[in-house]
Amino acid sequence: MTTTADRAGTSSSSVPTEKVTLARAITLGLRTALAHDPSVLLMGEDIGRLGGVFRVTDGLQAEFGADRVVDTPLAESGILGTAIGLAMRGYRPVCEIQFDGFVFPAFDQITTMLAKLHARSRGRITVPVVVRIPFGGGIGAVEHHSESPEVLFAHTAGLRVVSPATPADAYTMIQEAIASPDPVIFLEPKGRYWDKAEVALTPYGTPGAGLDKARVVRPGSDVTVVGYGPTVHTALKAAAAADAEGISLEVVDLRTISPLDHATVVESVRGTGRCVVVHEAPVQHGVGAEVAARVTEECFYELEAPVQRVGGFHTQYPPARIEHDYLPSVDRVLHAVDRAMAF
């Protein structure tokens, strides 16, 4: 662990930094929250002694006890339902769903209860529950372990839906999610869990970029490529490749899917005149449709080409041996860039 002053340019005091994986950054974020707010609880299957199947909660039960890092019975609806009750009592439960494909048993609690209790009570009840979901594919897994259900949550009012793409964002965003008075669906790009980067270990409560802001992660001039979670990486690789061909891509990391930070995307597209959206979820009714519709509404005269969408097909997520034919690849992104440039 090293200590640098003002590494990220956001803090003027000396903050320790550490080179950690995205998964580990979440661990450290959870640990900071647990240490500083006694109302924070972790709940889920196998998160205790095992530390979770991805080891994201590794060591936390030993440190904070089985009452705060709770191995629950095997029932996702039960996890969410009891988390809601705990939140009503003043706790801040952070629920781990083991894999994306296993969130659906909890869908009713999330959609009809978690998302709506604040409104139902006219603001008298808040349910600051965080639902951590490792999502997305590319890890060679069996069925139900590679899903991208983000739009199913983002369509539902009352939920915030966010996804960090880097260790640094993972560290701060998990803390912001926990601190948020609203329920947050926190989508962890499991395919990027092992990406490493230097992270400034700011103290709990340090203001970050917020849960409602996209970010231009690479400036460019020809085409705006919008991604989030795992596809930010793909977009950046595509940008590097395009560079070699003399095409300049501006990459926007959405960071948050509800709300969508249209302003940042629109500003970028105003500059480039072209837009490609990339996600792993199926294109049909995906987040890309909303981005495309909105960008077209706001940049009708600036757009030189229709917004191009790159994503999964309208198929079940395929077996591992062909998942890379399904997933949006650098090549598919570049193909979409070419399509946009061809207009």
Partner: protein
Amino acid sequence: METVQLLTPEGTRVADARYDHRVAHLDADALRGFYADMVLTRRFDTEATALQRQGELGLFTPSMGQEAAQVGSAHALAPQDWAFPAYREHGVLHVRGVDLVDVLKQFRGVEHGGWDPAEHHVHLFTLVVGAHPLHAVGYAMGMQRDGVVGTGDPQRDAGVIAYLGDGATSQGDVSEALVFAGASDAPVVFFVQNNQWAISVPVGTQSKVPLAQRGQGFGIPTVRVDGNDVLASYAVTAEAMERAHRGHGPTFIEAVTYRMGAHTTSDDPLRYREDDEVAAWRAKDPIDRLRRYLESAGELPQDFLADLEARSEALARHVRDGVHAMTAPEPTSMFDHVYASPHSLVQSERAWFEQYESGLAEGGAR
């Protein structure tokens, strides 16, 4: 499976070695209080049903027939306890002090909630059948963590009661609530009002064995009680809440009762149930039962009844006036509590809507 009963339908007190001491302290005054609460709950029911017929409410869920189960169990709660009702527990709300006018806000379509849960420790109605017992269990798990369970201090020890119906017991969420309660020893009481029907479906379609058995398979002690007997309902709930308070874990109660009216004012029970069934249960009316008992004990003086009559009419008037006074909320209120912190989409949609309403809207997504 034995059914706990302390008052027969004829109003005769029967001895019960296990539960007698739970009601020993209830003097005539207390019982008249129970009686009044049941009568008032029913008066509310009649008034709300009438208001629905007059077009003042979109819908109403009558509790008629279930007053003893509700009033008896609610009286067994301590102030620091919490109740999680389904959507028919007007008697519970009344006993806890919730202004029943507030219950009608959702039926008049002016709000989805209606009251402040924190004020009387009564959660809002949950219309998704079976979804709320998990919230009750989670809430109880919170009490455990707050250190207000098993302290031995009766002013402090707290627990939760979750009300649900016979139909609700079939929902997976209810079973999961039993799993979580059993696993965590949470201070929670599951109070099932088996009113024999889930809309048009008889309880036999949900279970061929008494519902009270359900708890056992989850390691939760169970009891079956005559839910039309306010004393027995009080007694078994008092015992169960005491277990909860002491940190001895959950209890599952089946209160056998009957929904004397329609499922809701939109329902037509003539399509699915027989007159004699209704008549047979009318003979076991929970209010009549306590009246007979108090009468035979000479404990229902005329002035009390006259006063109760006046209170009933005052309640009805209060409800009527309250409902009439409920006006539609501001349209923009729909944007008010979608989130607890600012959300750019809600903000922009609200702004658009306000402009649109004032005839000024231009672009925007709708």
